[in-house]
């Protein structure tokens, strides 16, 4: 049976690997979002810091909220524990200490990706080369995920990896929805507002790779009252909160002693099923997302209590 310590590290590998890909995608999408919005809309790069709850760490480091500083902080800052490079190093260190349960090639791919990021970080910070750099990082993550998906037997180690990345995904999806809502609440009520809303929700979809399937599934143009329920409740889209929760429930179901966490997750599912009025994109909706985020965060502590080392 799997060691508790190894379970914890594999879980974090899943989370950090997902975080690397998410960070790369977020930075690359944000660039195009800003280009699409009318000049009257004052969205700043600093919003990315807010989305990720990094205000405190950022302000200790930088006083100017410029594009270059924000991107540098998110991609390459050693003082930011969630920066792309630190997340990648965390994946590497976790895999290094659990090499006996992950496929051999995974270790090599992670070393390669880490080397690539270390050697080419400047490409990511410079605007002209940023897109290509981030694409390469995303591809590297996909490659590793693909390897694990295709070769790891679906035993406990796989389940912990999968719990980790689904957890991180659900967390990210909520953050993006909150960010979208917040941006919309900040819009001035002028001629551009409807168009700007569409741009913002469009980018939320894109940052989750959801546009294509959103359109096919909802058969609706991009608008808040359709995007929100799709990303929260669609049972099939892999980044919807409902789907992530469902995946975590089925992973936990294969593991010993899982009753308390499954009970908690089912509570979340139930909350997702509640009727919400998505047409009113206001404070109330934001508060309800906030509640969801708190419930989700507490999952981590329950998981940790059951399976991870407690000393």
């Amino acid at each position: 049976m799997m060691l508790s310590r190894v379970a914890e590290r594999v879980y974090w590998s899943g989370r950090y690997l997902e975080r690397v890909a998410n960070t790369a995608r977020l930075v690359s999408i944000y660039e195009t979002l800003l280009l699409d919005l009318p000049k009257t809309v004052k969205l700043s790069w600093y919003n990315l810091i807010i989305i990720n709850d990094l205000e405190e760490a950022y302000n200790e480091r930088y006083s100017v909220r410029s594009e270059r500083n924000v991107v540098k902080f998110l991609l390459g800052d050693e003082d930011n524990s969630s920066s792309l490079i630190n997340s990648l190093t965390a994946v590497r260190e976790n895999v290094r200490t659990t090499r006996d349960v992950v496929p051999e090639e995974a270790w090599e791919m992670i070393c390669e990706l880490t080397l690539y990021v270390q050697d080419n970080l400047e490409l990511g910070i410079n605007r002209r080369s940023r897109h290509e750099f981030l694409e390469d990082v995303i591809k590297g993550c996909l490659q590793i995920n693909g390897l694990l998906f295709g070769t790891m037997p679906h035993v406990a180690s796989w389940e912990f990896f999968s719990i980790g990345y689904n957890f991180e995904r659900a967390d990210m999806t909520i953050r993006y929805l909150e960010a979208g809502l917040t941006a919309i609440l900040q819009l001035e009520d002028d001629d551009h507002a409807v168009n700007s809303q569409q741009v913002i929700w469009g980018n939320v979809l894109r940052s989750l790779n959801a546009t294509q399937y959103y359109l096919r599934t909802t058969r609706s143009p991009v608008k808040g009252q359709e995007v929100l329920p799709y990303l929260i409740n669609d049972p099939h889209f892999p980044r919807s909160i409902a789907h992530c929760i469902q995946s975590i429930i089925s992973s936990c179901g294969t593991l010993p002693q899982s009753e308390p966490i499954i009970k908690h997750l089912k509570k979340i599912s139930k909350k997702l099923d509640e009727q919400v009025d998505f047409s009113d994109a206001g404070e109330e909706l934001l508060e309800s997302l906030n509640q969801l985020q708190i419930l989700l965060t507490s999952c981590h502590f329950i998981i940790s209590d059951i399976w991870f080392p407690n000393d």
Partner: protein
């Protein structure tokens, strides 16, 4: 530009590859003609490929410095060292013989002590050995074997013969690098493997796993075998993880294990506690169990000695096995082989002077500038005096040390360590560099020796220090069978 192989200097030392200017030794013939076919661009592209492969494969080791621990890429030279199969077969037999006798010796020391009663070894040698563990007295591990994994350091002298330089019976490391060196070579010089009959090295992890499994006190089909590591900050962590992965065993840290009131060892899993049968421990004796040894150790497992002594657990290597890699005991190994096996040693020792003996000590003190002085219980090349390279001040210091604690020092003549061509400098010029060889020997019910071993190279010109912690590098080691040539 081609490489000027004819300018490569030969003659001062035994060269592993070249016998006279421009002429290779027989087992290295095909390798040499291949190397000669490469121009300097070919060479540098292969050297770079090897460096890249090492980084990508994540092959590293840790160096402890004042500024913190640094993870360094493994230093590697792409020219292999070549040994002929007949010579290796003899060495293989000699290594097995030696470990067998050493295990009988250790078992005797912790039980009857016949070798002392019969006057072969003086009692004080044992009494003053820092690696003797009275806690182990009366124990009798499976097959009478205490040192299950041994890394024996061999050197080749001017005459081309192998000599044993030291036995490492505690937690010898390096075998993962031996295996990784071969993987690098296959990536970088695949062409040569098609032409030369090189013995494979890859079965070590399986042999290790079988040997460990055979030690299980519970006679069950699938005993639980774990590798116990001190953790990520240990310089050999890479190897611990590597071996666990290759064996399919759990890699555990002290905090993953617990001994219960039933004196059995358990590991903490996601489903609760699971019993462990065999621990391949890569932690020194003194940190193994805070109940018995170093009270402050947080690396070990409280009670693990209790479980071992109760016969509920096998430890490899057994605690106390290090008593036999004391360098004073080393001097007695030929006598030990004779005493227990009634055989002559197949591999010789290097001539060794014991400083506790007055006559030998005076010889050592009078010849400090010619000898290598070693402390009896250090490893990793630390605390040594290399006479010919020393200053008067260093020699004075060692004279004091020897007089203050003669039992703790031995001295050996400076060997004319063999050399092999090694690419150095930014132009990758082949130059002779000194090397040694560490084969790994397993003993359980039966014995096994790796084909070849880890070849370590002193990368600094004229230097004899091969330890990776002190700037040494490494090479792949080929055991080549020339008898099959021409048949294929």
């Amino acid at each position: 530009m081609s490489i000027a192989w004819n300018d490569y200097p030969v003659g001062d030392f035994y060269d592993e590859i070249i016998s006279s200017p421009g002429n290779p030794r027989k087992p290295a013939q095909k390798l040499f003609s291949y190397l000669k076919s490469l121009n300097s661009e070919d060479i540098s592209s292969r050297v770079n490929a090897a460096e890249l492969a090492i980084k990508e494969m994540g092959i590293s080791f840790t160096v402890y410095t004042d500024e913190g621990n640094i993870d360094r890429a493994w230093p590697f030279d792409i020219i292999p060292r070549v040994i002929s199969k007949p010579q290796w077969d003899k060495t293989d037999a000699g290594l097995k013989q030696r470990l067998q006798a050493l295990n009988m010796f250790i078992d005797d020391l912790y039980n009857e002590q016949n070798i002392i009663k019969d006057g072969i070894i003086p009692e004080f040698v044992l009494k003053q050995s820092v690696n003797y563990r009275p806690e182990c007295e009366g124990m009798s591990p499976a097959f009478g074997v205490w040192a299950h994994v041994c890394g024996t350091d061999l050197v080749r002298d001017k005459d081309g013969e192998f000599y044993v330089l030291e036995d490492n019976l505690r937690v010898p490391s390096g075998v993962s690098y031996m295996l990784e060196n071969r993987s690098i070579m296959k990536r970088v010089l695949p062409e040569v493997f098609e032409k030369v009959d090189i013995a494979p090295v890859g079965d070590y992890p399986q042999r290790l796993f079988e040997m460990l499994g055979s030690l299980s006190p519970r006679k069950i089909k699938k005993p639980v075998v774990v590798v116990l590591t001190p953790g990520i900050f240990n310089s050999a962590y890479f190897e611990h993880a590597f071996l666990a992965q290759k064996m399919g065993a759990e890699l555990v840290e002290g905090s993953d294990l617990v001994v219960q009131d039933d004196d059995c060892l358990y590991m903490k899993t996601i489903a609760g506690l699971e019993r462990v049968d065999v621990v391949y421990r890569r932690i020194d004796d003194l940190f193994l169990d805070p109940e018995v040894f170093n009270k402050k150790s947080v690396l070990g497992v409280p009670g693990i000695m209790r479980a071992w002594k109760a016969g509920n657990l096998a430890l490899a290597n057994a605690p106390g096995a290090g008593v036999a890699d004391d360098k004073v005991v080393y001097a007695y190994v030929p006598a030990i082989i004779k005493y227990y096996l009634d055989q002559d040693p197949l591999i010789s020792n290097v001539e060794t002077f014991l400083c506790y003996d007055e006559k030998q000590r005076n010889h050592v003190l009078a010849n400090l500038d010619k000898l290598v002085v070693k402390p009896a219980n250090e490893s990793g090349g630390y605390g040594m005096l290399i006479g010919p390279h020393s200053t008067q001040k260093e020699r004075d210091k060692f004279a004091q040390l020897i007089k203050a604690n003669p039992r703790n020092y031995i001295a050996q003549p400076t060997l004319a360590l063999s050399v092999a061509p090694t690419f150095v400098g930014k132009h990758n010029t082949p130059e002779p560099r000194h090397l040694d060889l560490r084969p790994f020997v397993l003993q359980g019910k039966t014995s096994y020796v790796t084909t070849g071993g880890l070849t370590r190279v002193a990368m600094v010109k004229g230097s004899l220090v091969v330890n990776s912690s002190q700037g040494g590098g490494s090479k792949d080691t080929w055991i080549v069978d020339t008898s099959t040539e021409g048949k294929a």
